[in-house]
Amino acid sequence: MVIDLDKCTGCGTCMVACSAENNVSVRPDESDPQRRLTWMRLYKVTNGKPFPETEVSYFPRPCMQCDHHTPCVSVCPATATEMDYETGIVSQIYTRCIGCRYCMAACPYHARVFNWWDGYFPKSKGMTRYLSPEVSPRMRGVVEKCTFCHHRLMRARTKAYAEDRRELEEGEYITACTEACPAQAITFGDLNNPDHQVANLIKSPYAFRLLEKLGTEPKVYYLSSKDWVRKLGDNFLPGQFEPVTKVKMG
């Protein structure tokens, strides 16, 4: 997944689409940001300068699907979270999770959320009718997270197999946030496939990943032409950050 921060307007549509797609339950009072269920979180960042030099950017943050020694997977005692090496998706087995929250402690991106309350889908607001049969609703006491809409991959695969294909076309499987983003800031595809757009996008000098130095090797890349935004992507000691000075045109 590649997210272009220059295009993101911070409208929050990706968050809403994600919640609706994945049966993320709501709470009657959503004013507690530290215990809110959101798989896709939107951070607002600024360059810290006073008006009129103030600049603002938004960081949508899904699960990074960390590739290297996945922090959450390696620590889970009950194998309730696993990396599927074929698809690269870090999945969560809700009925096996014991709610020890070790994975949350190990994930530096806060991509995992715990079910502090029983799932709540208000009937009066018609929410029960929107529940997707493809995604299991989660019970209280387990940890949940973004799975790059894994069920959509399954759906696309089933369709392809039915048509006697073994490979998916680009765009056949995209996540709900990618589909919903009105600014088309999110691009989804196979990073290992040189024909896919994402594989090209990440070659940009403006591409970076969150907390690269830690070595979690996220599968989510960000693009930003602003130095200060890229600088916020990782921790840098003075003199360590290299601004992009030369960009080849064309």
């Binding site: 507690d32 530290q34 215990r35 951070y43 960042v45 960081f59 020694h69 922090p71 390696s74 620590v75 889970c76 005692p77 009950a78 194998t79 309730a80 096996r96 999770c97 014991i98 709610g99 020890c100 929250r101 070790y102 949350m104 402690a105 190990a106 994930c107 530096p108 991106y109 806060h110 995992r112 959320v113 715990f114 079910n115 502090w116 309350w117 029983d118 019970m139 209280r140 006491g141 387990v142 940890v143 969150l210 907390l211 130095k213 830690l214 070595g215 979690t216 600088k231 916020l232 992507g233 990782d234 921790n235 840098f236 000691l237 360590q240």
Partner: protein, 412 residues
Amino acid sequence: MDSALIPEGVKRCSPKAFFFWTLPWLALLLWGGVSAALCLLKGLNQTNMSDYFAFALWIVFDLAIIALGAGAFFTGFLTYIIGRKELKDIINAAVIIGFICYSGAVAMLGIDIGQPIRGWFIFWHVNVHSMLAEVSFCITCYLGVLLIEYIPLILENPQIEKVKPLRLFGQNLHGIMAIFAATGTFLSFFHQGSLGGLYGVMYARPFAFREGFYVWPWTFFLFILSAIAAGPSFTILCTKLAQAITRKRLVPDKAFQTLAKISGSLLGVYIILKIADTLGWIYGITPAAGLAFMDYFKEGPYGVWLLVLEIGVFGIIPAIILLTPSARKSEGWLITGCLMNCTGIVLNRFTFTIVTLAIPVMPFDEFMSYLPTWQEWGISLAVIGYGFLLFSLSYRYLPVFPKERELNPVVE
């Protein structure tokens, strides 16, 4: 009223006085019971934990009491395997304290996980690479070992002893205690280490992450060392407290001195290694993560003073006190040294749990702070109530201190 149950040749307070003594501890247990019921029925929303503070007061308490309970296995090791005879006078107390700490910790963990009924999945769907799986295995087995070490003592109650098969069973268990002491030592070493490893392997959290030796991060060894340094101190403190409350001498001074000396020496070694580890962390892990040392301490209430307190005040000073023979011999200094030693370890476990999670790793993330709710305090303090209660009952009805009769002859 209960005189038939009281071991022969020792004096105990009246049942009424004993009943009043248990009241505050029962009250703590009640508070804990209500809190636990609320958490189990309504969920962990009864706590102030959050997605940022996934581990909080209970885990700090857990880690702290497990470390303090290390006196059990380490004293067992010294008594049965190294053969320090003088420690036979304190080993029962050490085992009971260990049992209290471990069973309390396991009970608390049962409330802390979101799906307590599924706790056994750790064993069924085990991920052998997870430090928490290792911790769970070892703690469960070790709790079994502690129970086996505790049983012969229970069987020595004057009424139970009258039943011949039970008495023989108890004596036989006594005979093979060295095997259990060895098993317990092995298990405890591993889980104390894994508790340290729990944090040390979180490579995406530079505050806690440590490189190390083979698959074990440095914290693995530091946690073992700090636990066996503080455990004996805690055993001394509890026994001294029992002496103060009962106004009797229960254990000969030699046992205290041996434990204090060992505690001090281990603390000394630990502090040297901890300083080396801290320097390695400051100059190795921290810059590799793009951070400067003070970056960890610039926000919130958890300042660098925590480190100064942990290593300097509650590390170096108690090590010096416990290593100085004249200081060790003075009651006041001995207690101060042990108390500071134990405080240091609690501070260490607090830092690893709370500060690790409080410090945001993403540069644009915010600093969070956390205050426990009354339910969290209730469950934590209930463990203390349970400890006092079990220890008092054991002291009253079981021959916990073999030298008590000799040190306090009953005058008719």
